[in-house]
């Protein structure tokens, strides 16, 4: 093969890659754009795109719905509480798993991360049965338990990654300089895994805010999260206030991503949570 055909091959391959990426992006972004457009549609029915005029009527309607306000309040409370619990428990668990040196470490790690793999329906049903068996029938407590279970793996994972990415010699340096293991943890290890903790917390918050499948099992008639409320209302009567709600949730997510990008750096979000100066 001469140089020219080699170069041609490279160009074809490169072109195909770009085309594929563009297609994937279109596939991901188009529904979001359509939703945004629909949320501002001034018509009272679902008509062909584009809408003839724009308005905020669906946002107004959304604001007027009682169950949306109740659901949003519950969602935020649950997400915040679950995130706090996740960061405390998840960091402690990750530190223990990282230190290792005990039997069943692999099993424990698998258990902590299993909610990422086990289907949400299974988790929801299992939790419902288990919690009613031990006498927890309060909707809020049930939801909180469920959300901690499904969001904890995000914190455990990101903190584990930042622990793995840190330089262990820094802890040794602290010890040889006279710090006890506890002092070394607070003054050296913890500041170094902070970005992992923040990343995990943001993920946990977003996942909690978004969850439908597990929450569906754990709500009671007076305690429900926003996504659950929206899904039920959609079943009962479909209108475009659901698109408005989707736009609001997207806005929250976008803000979270911007926060992460500012404080942690987006490429570190999924890679190693190393210390950022």
């Amino acid at each position: 093969m001469n140089g020219r055909t080699k170069r041609l091959g490279d160009r074809i391959l490169g072109g195909a890659m770009v085309a594929m990426l563009a297609l994937m992006l279109a596939f991901l972004v188009t529904p979001l754009l359509v939703t945004c457009l629909l949320a501002f549609d001034s018509r009272s029915f679902l008509g062909p795109l584009p809408p003839p005029a724009l308005s905020l009527r669906w946002f107004e309607r959304l604001a007027s719905l009682d169950y949306v306000a109740t659901g949003l309040a519950t969602s935020l409370k649950i997400a915040l509480l679950a995130t706090v619990i996740d960061v405390l428990v998840g960091t402690a668990a990750a530190v223990a798993l990282d230190r290792g040196g005990f039997r069943g470490r692999g099993l424990l790690m698998a258990a902590f991360l299993s909610p990422l793999i086990v289907p949400a329906v299974v988790i929801g049903l299992a939790l419902l049965l288990f919690l009613s068996r031990i006498g927890v029938i309060d909707g809020f407590t049930r939801l909180l338990c469920g959300h901690v279970v499904i969001t904890l793996p995000y914190v455990v994972r990101t903190v584990l990654a930042s622990l793995a990415g840190r330089d262990r010699r820094l802890t040794e340096a602290a010890l040889v300089l006279g710090a006890t293991e506890r002092q070394a943890f607070w003054s050296v290890t913890l500041p170094l895994i902070r970005s992992g903790m923040v990343t995990g917390a943001v993920f946990a918050f977003a996942v909690s805010l978004d969850d439908v499948a597990v929450s569906m099992f754990l709500t009671d008639p007076s305690t429900y999260t926003l996504p659950v409320a929206l899904v039920s209302s959609m079943r009962a009567s479909f209108d475009l206030s659901i698109a408005a709600a989707a736009v609001l949730l997207m806005a929250v997510t976008a803000v979270l991503i911007i926060v992460l990008e500012r404080f942690v750096g987006f490429d570190r979000l999924l890679g190693q949570g190393l210390f950022r100066s």
């Binding site: 010699r169 040794e172 340096a173 040889v176 710090a179 100066s277």
Partner: protein, 367 residues
């Protein structure tokens, strides 16, 4: 005060490998010792045992007359300069230096003064509020040194102190490191695989091989009188000539090499010997000029190749008997020592280091 550090019969195994195999030594207070050996010889394990990161399986370690074998790192006052410095990235230079002072119970009001004092010692005044990432490699190394010395430890360990720096900077910092260590007058152990670093920093060299210390002595002793082929090869370049002793005189011996070269060497007991001649001890001159004067041992030969190193050249010479010898010569202008040139080489009796043939010290000597 007696010995700053004592090792009594220390053993440490990792699985089937004896990383440290019955090592004993002592270091006098104020002395600087270089622990030298190839990678994997166990020198890092010794460092980690002294610092308290590893516990020996057997044996006793004492520092300043106190048995510290079972003590945690923070219960000993040892300073450690890490190979890659291990500076805390989330703290400023001053906070890094103050870390040891805070945790070793120095009076809070004294800390800022001590930090300034340490910064002055390593010539980094005004850098206290910088972050480690904002400093060059050489500056980071000096901060790490200041941090290690801030608590005035009875013993300072330096783990490959200069290996992370480039060659030119290394030479400057080596001199500076020596000055700083002398200024604080503390006992120090330099752990390194670089024999130049070991010889220039250490007042004594401990040469390690496969978990054991195979030779100790001043740098010139270990370099000039290696006790084994391994020691001779590890300390520097060596030409080896296998020979048999034919006649002995007072203090001298006559030997004939395998290739038929007659040599006069210092007295030795063995019959079959290996003779080591350092490349810098061989004098080389073009065959058409008057040969090297006063050299007992000489041979004629031909230059095979020349490697220019700047101020010096490494010249590989093949003798008429077929021996290949490496010669180190100053790089002088216009002496016409090019490949193919006929030359005469010569070296004095005391340039010959004789070892009994097959002296392999421990298991693996081929490097």
């Amino acid at each position: 005060m007696s010995n700053a550090v004592e090792f009594h019969g220390i053993r440490r195994r990792f699985g089937a490998v004896a990383a440290v195999d019955d090592v004993s030594f002592s270091i006098a207070a104020g002395e600087t010792v270089a622990l030298l050996g190839p990678s994997g010889c166990g020198k890092t394990t010794i460092l980690r045992i002294i610092a308290g990161f590893e516990r020996p399986d057997h044996g006793m370690v004492s520092i300043g007359g106190r048995d510290v074998t079972a003590l945690k790192p923070y219960e000993r006052n040892v300073g450690l300069l890490f190979q890659h410095y291990a500076l805390f990235p989330h703290m400023t230079v001053a906070e890094n230096i103050a870390y040891g002072l805070r945790h070793r119970g120095t009076d809070k009001r004294e800390i800022p003064d001590r930090v300034e004092e340490m910064l002055a010692l390593v010539r980094l005044q005004g850098f206290g509020s910088r972050r480690p990432q904002q400093l060059s490699g050489g500056q980071q190394q000096r901060v790490a040194l200041a941090r290690a010395l801030a608590t005035r430890p009875g013993l300072v360990l330096l783990d490959e102190p200069l290996s992370a720096l480039d060659a030119k900077l290394r030479q400057d910092l080596r001199a500076e490191l020596k000055q700083v260590l002398a200024a604080v007058n503390s006992t120090a152990m330099v752990v390194t695989h670089d024999q130049e670093e070991a010889m220039s920093l250490g007042e004594r060299v401990f040469l390690m091989q496969s978990g054991r210390i195979v030779q100790t002595g001043s740098p010139s002793e270990v370099y000039g009188c290696p006790g084994s082929r391994f020691a001779a090869d590890f300390m520097g370049r060596a030409n080896w000539i296998e020979a048999r002793v034919t006649r002995r005189e007072t203090g001298l011996a006559q030997a004939v090499s395998r290739s038929g070269l007659s040599l006069t060497v210092p007295h030795c007991d063995a019959e079959a010997i290996d003779i080591c001649v350092r490349p810098e001890n061989i004098v080389l001159s073009a065959a058409d000029t008057s040969g090297p004067d006063g050299m007992v041992n000489s041979a004629s030969g031909r230059i095979l190749n020349v490697a220019l190193l700047g101020a010096t050249r490494q010249i590989l010479v093949e003798t008429s008997g077929g021996d290949q010898l490496l010669v180190m010569q100053a790089n002088r202008v216009g002496d016409g020592l090019d490949p193919g040139k006929a030359v005469t080489i010569g070296f004095p009796v005391d340039a010959c280091i004789t070892l009994p043939a097959g002296n392999q010290a421990a298991a693996s000597t081929s490097l």
